[in-house]
Amino acid sequence: MEALRKVKVEVLAVSLAYGATPVLHDVSVSVEPGEFFALLGPSGSGKSTLLRLIAGFNQAQSGQVLIDGEDLSRVPPWKRDIGMVFQNYALWPHMTVAENVAFGLEERRLPRDTVRAKVKAALDLVGLNEFTARRPGQLSGGQQQRVALARTIAIEPKVLLLDEPLSNLDAKLRVYMRAELLALQRKLGITTIFVTHDQEEALSISDRVAVLDGGIIQQIGTPMDLYDHPANRFIANFVGTINLLPGRVKADAGGFRFESSLLGKIALVGGSGAARDAAIAIRPHALMLAAGDQPRDAARIWLDGVIAEREFLGEFVRYTVKVGDTDFVADEMHFIGGISHVPGSRVKVGINPAQVKLLSA
């Protein structure tokens, strides 16, 4: 199969409600040609609705969907030329694998020979050519998913939409298939939007991610952007694990400072505006733990704590440390023979101000 023409997908100020229930609110997303783009969010966030809107199965009350610069808002699904892979694969049980894959090509009234060649090419691409005569019921979950994928890319759509494509697979297969998906997408160069509630999945294979919550886009960015510079508390919590400390931002003679009872005052770089409530966020691996007699880095702020819980996760050990009434989650890399802290033991928790991210409340 040849590489496909790369097109741009733009969602402009879309709002959508089912009756009185708002589902999408003023959503704008722009997906670059050839990009592998993820829509990430918890269930009920509106991510699937947005995907179905692009496919044409939903009607927005306002806003536009542009594909390759063309407004598709009034175009029915069957004329959009957008391929979608459904979460349950939606294979037709009364057709063989080959008939399933040929369906879209037949609907396009292509000559018989062309259909046959394209079906073969699509099935070759997903490595399922020996199963053409089988029925979907005779295939494993992973194989069914490949058929669904082959069926969709066989029509060489302008855009590929994937709705939770990996959620029905077991953990090992999921990791394998997501690499396969990415490889396929890179090979075809097709603009791909995929929906997932799994942040690890989204971060690991996407070029960029849009995070939705409550029908509102919370942040759009590269995976690293989202992780390092969460725009708000929701993103900070949803993407990876994080410690949040509430406090207040105040201005004084030396510039802006963050004040909290635990940490005292921390000087902020830059900053503007009036005094306000805020929070600082610290990733678990950015915290350092030290037993009582260890030498300590003076650049860090050190707090007294007690180990409450310990989880061994292989690459690292995750501790829950109680500092006063506040729980901190702290990760320590693990090596053979490395020491670990025992629950109940007293430790010092070291915070590096350079690794702290200020969030508005």
Partner: protein, 658 residues
Amino acid sequence: MGRRQDFSSGCRSAIAIAGYAQQLTIITSFPKDLTEVYKKAFESRNPGVRVEVLNRGTSSAIAFVREAPAGNRPDVFWASAPDAFEVLSKEKLLEKFPGANPAVPAKIGNYPINDPDGFYYGQALAGYGLMWNTRYLKANKVPAPREWADLVKPEYFGHLAISAPSRSGTTHLTIETILQGEGWEKGWNQILQFSGNCAAITERSFGVPDGVNNGQFGIGLVIDFFGLSAKASGFPVEFVYPSVTAIVPANIGLVSGGRSSELGKKFIAFALSEEGQQLLLEPRISRLPVLPAVYKKAPQGYPNPYGGKIQAKVQFDSDLSRSRYYLVNSLYDHTIIGYVASVIMVAASLFALWASTWIMRGKEYATLQRGYAGLSRRRLTPGQSVLAYAWIGLVLLIVLAPHLGILLLSFASVWSFSVVPDGYTLSHYATVFQDSPLMIWNTALYCGIAATLDVVIATAIAYLMLRTRIPGRQALDFTVTIALAIPGVVLGIGYLRTFRGIEIPFTDDLLTSSWVLLALAYTVRRLPYALRSCVAALQQLHVSLEEAAENLGATKGRTIRRVVVPLMTGGMMAGFVISFMTAAVELSTTLMLVTAQHDAPMSYGIYLYMQSAAGRGPGAALGVLAVLLVAAGTYASYRLIGSRGNIARAQEIQTMGV
């Protein structure tokens, strides 16, 4: 099948030119055994005349005459119950004409044979008596009864059968006769006691002779011709008139506003003539003529009410009978059948309903299969296999026993109080193929049309209900389902009234006298079944299967054709088969809407046959053919739709969990 063509007016007028224009229509409650003889005799005496006999229960015959527009009514009304004629004459649906045969006496006992007002005439006489199965009595060592009073003896306990007087006009007359003959006190005493000896109180009057014929009951209280004709048909039965009996006339009258009144008058004159009266002596009919002269030609031992063998002591007072009609019936129902039983039954069914709701609470979706992969099947040990097959055999035996009985009955010459019939014959099938090949074709045609329309309509409604947001789609479901709540007779009357006087476009035929109405009624009656089946089929289809098709470029129409319909095939076929089968056995609507014998389906034929003792064999044969027809229909639809290989996969669709 040639008759089918006269559905179009062109053929009708062609027949008219050929001199086949005259048609006489008789509506009657009498069995086919009787009417067929008269039809043939009258037709052979009047070349060019065709007699159309509409066999109905008395009350539905009255309803039919009422609903038909003037000028399009049957010509002759012929039935037992004098009450029916009273109703018709009150509503000016009978026409007075001087047609009495002067040789017929004015009265039988105290009872006037002809209507004193001249609206109808006595055509035959009927007395009430006792009928018994000789084999049954011999086997149970019970002596043959002679009088009502014999029946109160303890040795008859569990051997009698009677029909409820509130349900059967003839049984009411029997009870009334005993009350008038023995007096109120003594009469009730007797009735109470012998009712206590009954094995059953049947709902229909024919249930009693039928049960005696096949040996289910020993002795039955019946009208004379039930006993006499069964004996004449070879059943091991005897009949006797007790001394406390009454003889009353069965009547015939001219309907006003009939299509051919002159022919009607001619037929009534024929039925009352010596020739016509003589027909009553035919063994299969065995009724008492009103014309005394005819008894000279009767075979030896034939009962003669005119001072012959029957000593009818009771001078029946019909005014007294009419004045206390409801009193007698409700006294019988309350003291003997016992309304307590029905109260208990209602309470029990209410409790069952409540219990099932309570148990099923919150389990509404338990049957919706959503899991992945099929069920695993286990291999049985030899011992388990034997047990399993024994169980299957037992269930099959219980379920198929009545069908086997019908099959055996269709080949039986006489089958009465014995494990297997006395002899075997193919003559019932010969009778059926001679009488009613059209009925088989009619059933296939009407039910085929109805079931096809049902599936098409039901699929469309299911799609509207489950896949669109059209306002009123739930009302559609409700409207369709209403048909279930309406009795067939009522629906039939509704059709007759609604389409009264409306002609089928491009023909001169009235819609109400055409088989089209029957097919239409079947369609409506059976639509709820097809709908449930199609809705269930579509519910199991995940909507993403359709979205996937649209996504790949198929329009809504193409999606329905290539995805929805093939995947609904199983449900649609089930709907077709259920509609077809239930339409094939639909009786109440059929009885109301059949207006010509050549348009009648098999259910009507079976009903007619089953009304007489001699008809049980052919009735069973027709029943067997009906079963075969339904099986053929099922197989044909299986092949037709299944040829694309979809049915075998119906299960797969459900287990895939999409």
